[in-house]
C-alpha cells in the first residue's frame, strides 16, 4: 500500500426528493482511499452504503461535493467519459452476480475487454477463470452454474481489464458460508497480487479481519473509521 490517494471523496451529499421532503441518503462524507488499500464499508440497511458505492463508481452523481479517481473529478465527466472510466479503471462485483445470461462464462469475462476494444482477450480471460477454478466451465451459461460459481465468474470479470479500483457490493450476500469463504479468499488473493484498490460494501463480519480500514456509516454519514487487520493476515 502506498500513500497516494486513488479515490478521494470530498464533502459529498446525495439527496432525493420524497414527496414534499428531501432525504439525504449520504451527507457530507469525506474520505481518501489510497492506492492498493482495501476498505470495507459497513452499516445497517438504509445507512447509505450502496448510494455511496454508486457515487464512487460513477453510476450516479452527487448533489454536492466531489469525487475524484486518480485525480480526475467525476463531476467534470460526461456520460461517455464516465462509461470509459468504469470500463478502464473500475471493476465491479455484485451481490446477485449480474452475469449476462446469454453469454457463456468465458464470454462474460471477456466482455469488459471487448468493450474496451481488446481483441486478444481470450487467453487472459481463460487464465482468470483457471485462477478462480472454473477452467472446466468456460462454455457454460450462467443458468448452468451454481451461485458460488457465478460469483467466481464475476470476480474474474472484475479483474479482466486490470482495474485500478474494485467495488464489491455485498459479494457474499447470496452465498452459503462455504462459497462465501471461497469468494473472500479469491477476491483478496487476486487483489493482493495485482495491487488493486478494493472497496467492499458488506454486512459480512468476516471481511473485518481482511481489510485495511473499516468505514461505518450511520444515517448517511460516517460514524466511525477504524483500522482492520493487516491484509497479509489471511485466514
Amino acid at each position: 500500500m502506498s500513500g497516494q490517494s486513488t479515490l478521494r471523496i470530498q464533502n459529498v451529499t446525495k439527496s432525493y426528493r420524497s414527496g414534499e421532503t428531501t432525504v439525504d441518503a449520504v451527507k457530507e462524507i469525506s474520505l481518501d482511499i489510497a492506492e492498493g488499500e482495501t476498505v470495507a464499508i459497513f452499516g445497517p440497511s438504509g445507512s447509505g452504503k450502496t448510494t455511496l458505492l454508486g457515487l464512487c463508481a460513477g453510476l450516479d452523481r452527487p448533489s454536492s461535493g466531489d469525487i475524484s479517481i486518480e485525480g480526475e473529478s467525476l463531476n467534470s465527466m460526461d456520460e461517455i467519459g464516465l462509461s470509459r472510466l468504469r470500463n478502464e479503471k473500475i471493476g465491479f462485483i455484485f451481490q446477485s452476480f449480474r452475469l449476462i445470461p446469454s453469454l457463456t462464462a468465458l464470454e462474460n469475462v471477456m466482455i469488459p475487454a471487448e468493450i474496451r476494444g481488446d481483441r486478444g482477450v481470450e487467453e487472459r480471460a481463460v487464465d482468470l477463470l483457471r485462477r478462480v477454478g472454473l477452467e472446466n466451465r468456460l462454455h457454460n451459461y450462467p443458468s448452468q452454474l451454481s451461485g458460488g460459481e457465478q460469483q467466481r465468474v464475476a470476480i474474474a470479470r472484475a479483474f479482466v481489464n486490470e482495474p485500478r479500483l474494485l467495488f464489491a457490493d455485498e459479494p457474499t450476500g447470496n452465498l452459503d458460508e462455504e462459497n462465501a469463504e471461497a469468494v473472500r479468499r479469491l477476491l483478496f488473493e487476486i487483489n493482493q497480487a495485482r495491487g488493486t484498490t478494493l472497496v467492499i460494501v458488506t454486512h459480512d463480519p468476516a471481511f473485518t479481519s481482511l481489510v485495511d480500514r473499516l468505514v461505518v456509516l450511520k444515517g448517511g454519514h460516517v460514524d466511525e473509521i477504524r483500522s482492520g487487520a493487516p491484509s497479509t493476515a489471511l485466514p
Binding site: N87, F92, R98, I100, P101, S102
Partner: protein, 847 residues
Amino acid sequence: MSVIPRFWIVRHAFRDTRGVRRQLTVFLSSMMLGVAALVAINSIGANLTAAVDDQAKSLLGADLRVSSRSPFSPEAEALIDSIGGDQARLYSFSSMALAPSTDRTRLVGVRASDPGYPFYGEIVTDPGIAASAYQGRDGLLADPTVLLQLGISIGDSLRIGSRSYPVVGSIQKTSRETSAMESISPRVYVPRAALDTLLLAYGSRVEYEVYVKFDDGTDADELVDGMKSRLREVGLRYSTVEREKREWNEALTNLYRFLGLIAFVALLLGGLGVASSINVYIRRRLASVAVLRCLGATPAETSLVYLLQALALGLIGSIVGAFLGVGIQQLIPPVVNRVSPLQIEPVISLSSVATGIVVGTGVGVLFALLPILQVGRVSPLSVLRHNQGDDQASRSWSRRLVVAVGVAGFAAAAAWQAPSPLVGIAYVVGLIFVFLVLRLVARVLTVAARGLRTAGLSFEVRQGIASLFRPGSQTVLLTVTIGFIAFIIFALSGVRSSLLRQVELSSGSERPNLILFDIQPDQVDGVTSIVRASGNPVIESVPIVSMRIRSINGRLITSMREDETVETSWAHRREYRSSYRDTLNDTETLTSGRMLPSVPPDFDPAVDVVPVTMASDLEDELKIGIGDSLVFDVQGLPVRTVIGGIRDVDWGQLSTNFYFLFPRGVLEDAPSTNVVVTRVDDAARMSAVQTSVIDAFPNVSAIDLTLVLSVVESVFSRIGMVIRFLALFCVLTGMIVLVGSVLSGQSSRTEESVLLKTLGAAPGTIQGILATEYAAIGVIATASGLVLSTAAVWLLCRYNFNIPPRFPAVEYLLFGLAIVGITIGVGMLLSRSVYKQSPLAILRNEL
C-alpha cells in the same frame, strides 16, 4: 463513436439473441407477409411494364393509328392519304347478331377490318388458318362466347345487319384487346368489304380507325408531331407505339400501385408485431443492458446492439418475404395472361425485390426504434437499485422524435408506393387515424376495466377483467391488431355489398331490363308495336341527338384546347348524346336553377337562346354553372344555349340519362336515333322479343341487362378476389401479430397462473380467466373495427363511388362472431402451457 459499429457491438448483437431466436421468428414472420405482398405486386408491375415495352407494337397493331367517332370527312380522307405507308381500316361498333339455325340473337362487338389488319401481333383462331382465311371467304371470326350463347358452331352462318356470314373460326386471343369485356360485348371479325353499310347509318356508335405501317423507317411520333393541328382540325385522334406504351404504363402503374397500398396495411400490421415482440424482448434484456453500462458501455453502444439486431432481423424477414413474394409472382402470369392482351413473363424483378427488402427492413427498424429507446435510458445504477435514472424529459422528447421519424418514414414509403404522393399521404393519415382511434379505445377499455364494479361477478370474470389493466397486459396491442383486422374485413364487406346493392336495384322486378337502341325515327313505331305485341311495356322511348360543344361563353373549344393555360378534359372533346323532354325521370333531381319543359311556339333557334339543364358531374369538368352559355354543334348547325338548371343524376341506375337535357320544341327536327326501354320477365320471351325486332329492323341493337348484370357480378367477384387475396395477407399478418402478442405476454401470465394454482385454483378457473380476457378484447376490438369501417364505407360510397352505402348486418354479425371466436380460440390454444404449468415450478423457481 465512429459510424462503423465497434466489433464487440456486432458480436454482442449476435450473441445476445441466444435462446430467444425461436421467439424472434415472430418478429421475422411479422414482416414477411407484408414484404411478400409488396414484392409480388411490384414484380408483377415490373413484368407488366416490361411486357408493354416489348409488345407495344402488337398492342397498337401498327406504327400509327388515326381514329374518329364519326365518318371521315373528305378533308380527313385527304390527310389520311397523305400519311402514306401501308394502311388498313377497322370499323368497330355494337350490333345484334342473329343465328338463323337456332333463332337466337346476341349483342356483339363487330370489328369490320381490311386485309392486313393487324400489321403487328396476331389474331389467334381455331382453326389456325381461319385468321387469314376469313377475309378471302367473306367469313366471320367470333369469340367462343358468341358461338356458345347462340348455340352455333364453325360452319354455321351468322347474320349481322342484312348480311349473313359463314363462321370460319373462333377467336382464341388477339394481341390488341382484353378478353375481360368479352362477356358483355363479345367480338366478331368480318371483312370490311362485306359489311352491311346500313349498320354505319347516322346514330350508330362507330369507331372509325385507320392502321398505318411504315416500311420506310418513318418515325410515327415525328410525323404526327408535325401534323397535330391538322389532325385536330379534321377531328382525328391518333396514337403511336410510344403513346400507346405511355398510356398502358400509366394505367398499369396506377393499378399496381393502388394494390400495393393494400399490401402496406400488412406491412403496418407487421410493424406493430415488430414493435410488440421487440418491446417484450428488450424488457427482458434491460437488466443485462444495465450490467453492460456498468462495465463501461455507453448508452449509444447498448442501443446500437439492439438496433443492429432489429436491422438484421428485419433484413432476414424481408429477404424471406421477398422470396415468398417471388414465389407468388410466379403464380400470377397464367391468370393475367388468360384475360389480358399482354403476355407477361414472370421474370424476377430485382428492383422490386430490392425495394421490398429495403422497405420491409426500414419499416421493421422504424417500428423497433420506440422500444429500443428504453435501452438508451437504462441507468447503470439500476444494477444496484431498480427503476433508476429514467430521465422523463429526454424520454418524452426522444419518443416524440422517434414517432415523428417513424410516421415520416412510413408516409414517405407510402407516398412513393401510391399512385400519387397525395393519395399516399391521405392513405397514411387514414391509417394513423384508425390506429389512434383503436389505441384510444384500448386505453378507454383499460380505464373502464379498472373502474368496473366486479364485486358480484364470478372469480374468473373478475380476474379476467383485471387482466385487462394489469402491468404488462397486452390489451392495447391486441385491441389495435384485432381492431385493424376487423376494420379491413368489415370495410371490404361493406363496400362490396354497397356496390352489389346497385346491381340488385337495377335488376329489381320493376326495373327495365331490355334496351333497344340505334332505332331510326321512322322505326320507332314499328319497334314499340313489336314490344307491346309481345306483351311487354314500353317504359321509355327516348330520342337521342348527337352534338358537340362548339364554344363556352364565347370561347371556341378548339382555341381552348390549343391554349396551354386552359385546362380541358374529355368533357370538352366528347360527342354528347342529348335528349329532350319536359319532366325529370326518377333517377335525377334538380339541385339548382330550373328546368324549362318546352320553348314557346314562336321560338327561333337562329335568334333565341335555349335554357338547358346540365348534369352536376360536368360542373367541375367544364368549369361552368348556371348562366354560362354554350353553343352546341348539332350536325353542323349551331344551337345557342344557356345553363338554366343543374341535375344530380344517379348514373348507377340503368336508365336513359343525359349530360344535357333540352326542353321540347328545339331538337325535334334534328337528325336523331331512338332508344326504347322495356322489361321482359322471362328468358324465353327475352330472346323472342329481340329476334322479332332484329328480324324486322336489322340495324337495331339490344342490350339484355340481365346478361350485363350477371357479367357485372362476375367482374365484381374477380376484382373482389384480387382484393381479398391481398386482404388475406393483412389478416394473416394480423394473426401472426396476435400469436406474437399472446406468446410475449405468456411469461407473466404463467407466473400468475402458477401462483393461483398453488393457492388452489383449478385449470378450469385459469381457462375461465383467460377466456374472459380474450373475449373482452375480441368484442371491443371487433366493435371498434366495425364502427371505424362504417365511417370508411360511408366516406368511400359517398365520395368515391357516389352510391348510398349498405351495411350487411347478417354478414357483419357472422364476421364479428368469427373474429371474436378466433381471438378466444388462438388465445386459449397458445396459452395451454400457461394453465398446464405445474405449481411445483414455483418451488423450483423454474418460471
